[in-house]
């Protein structure tokens, strides 16, 4: 049974956090109104809807306001029951939450922050990144997706960040952090992801994303 009411998403084309929410909305065939935030300027609406963190994405469902992509994904999954994103089993659910957090914390750190700063040199940064990616390689081995036969929570979190955000940073830096010969399973997973319509519709333009990631990394490096 579909939940009632209007859905609005405040997002940013370049943000993997807002794109993953769009993946979920599209997967579940939930109609929504998309409002683009022209970041880094923050609109009065964003500041009103997310006064604590002032970040996208923010989902508005009727009178309910939800910030933070992981919370939004879980809310969507609990409210619209078709095409489930999270497993039903509590242990599998705990594992999904664990890996999603790992991606947004450890992978984002090694895949972006440490690489861009490269305090011990770029080669060391790449090796340290690969140590973290090795955990994900193991986790997706033998499966079509992190979610198993169909995409799920971890696929949306990792899928919005790794192939369609970090990969563009690496391309701009002319490095390959997860080459196919070292990470065959992750590369296979990326190919599988592109077969999914709700994912394909959320992939940003490659050139635009490379340009954007170069700007973001420059800002981060000089901060």
């Amino acid at each position: 049974m579909a939940a009632e009411g209007k859905v609005k998403l405040l997002g940013c084309w370049a943000s993997p956090f807002s794109r993953r929410v769009e993946m979920a909305l599209k997967l579940k065939n939930i109609p929504y109104e998309y409002l683009e935030e022209a970041l880094p300027n923050k609109s009065p609406l964003l500041l009103e809807l997310n006064p604590v963190h002032k970040k996208v994405p923010v989902l508005v469902h009727n009178d309910k306001i939800l910030p933070e992509s992981h919370l939004i994904l879980e809310y969507i999954d609990q409210t619209w029951k078709n095409n489930p994103i999270l497993p039903l089993d509590p242990y599998e659910k705990a594992m999904a939450r664990f890996w999603a957090k790992f991606v947004d914390e450890q992978i984002l750190t090694v895949g972006f922050r440490s690489l861009v700063k490269a305090e011990k040199g770029r080669d060391v940064a790449i090796e340290e990144a690969r140590e973290m990616f090795a955990f994900l390689e193991k986790e997706v081995t033998g499966k079509n997706y992190f979610g198993g036969k169909t995409i799920g929570f971890v696929d949306m979190v990792a899928g919005s960040i790794i192939p369609f955000c970090l990969a563009q940073l690496w391309e701009g830096m002319r490095i390959d952090v997860i080459p196919e010969e070292k990470f065959p399973e992750l590369n296979r997973w990326i190919k599988n992801l592109k077969d999914i319509e709700s994912v394909r519709e959320c992939i940003p333009d490659r050139e635009k994303q490379i340009e954007h990631m170069m700007k973001v990394s420059e800002r981060y490096r000089s901060a």
């Binding site: 469902h61 609990q78 509590p90 242990y91 705990a94 664990f98």
Partner: protein
Amino acid sequence: MADEVILLDFWPSPFGVRARIALREKGVEFEYREENLRDKSPLLLQMNPVHKKIPVLIHNGKPVCESMNVVQYIDEVWSDQNPLLPSNPYQRAQARFWVDFIDTKVFEPADKIWSTKGEVQEKAKKEYIEALKILETELGDKTFFGGDTFGFVDIAMTGYYMWFEASEKCGNFSIEPECPILMASAKRCLQRDSVVKSLPDPEKIVEFAFKIRKIYCV
């Protein structure tokens, strides 16, 4: 079928205590195993190879890591009593939002209060109080963050409530005058049976805090 529940933990940890409280709220029998964090057991390294941190809940041989993930798992497995999270999806999201807030905006300055001094510590104290005041506004006139019942957000905060005295002594400041309403809720939480059974002696935490402070500040 009898459940085997093991908790790998470290006695002063504000994160470990959350798991202990949740298990006791649900009346779950468990085996507590103290970890020496300077000499981590092979079991801990095997059960949490990614982070190598406590708490780790091992339920019938399967590990669950990260304190609030553990608490949520406990709530979902032993769902027949004392629900720790609301059943309504929006209220669940709100509870988790506040726990994420606590684990960033309270955690980061709290960590600096006991491990730094001078200007860095002063700045941390200010940020810590600011974060507590935001939480106090969210608490409002409710008995607990969840309303009438002790729940998810209260469990998360109890880890910090147990460190209040140590933070105050390390930072030479007082929390109650700044956040009297939050403090009143804290006192209610600290009197709960599951909490009393799970918390170490507050004096031992103060002693521990000063011991590690020496290591960091010397």
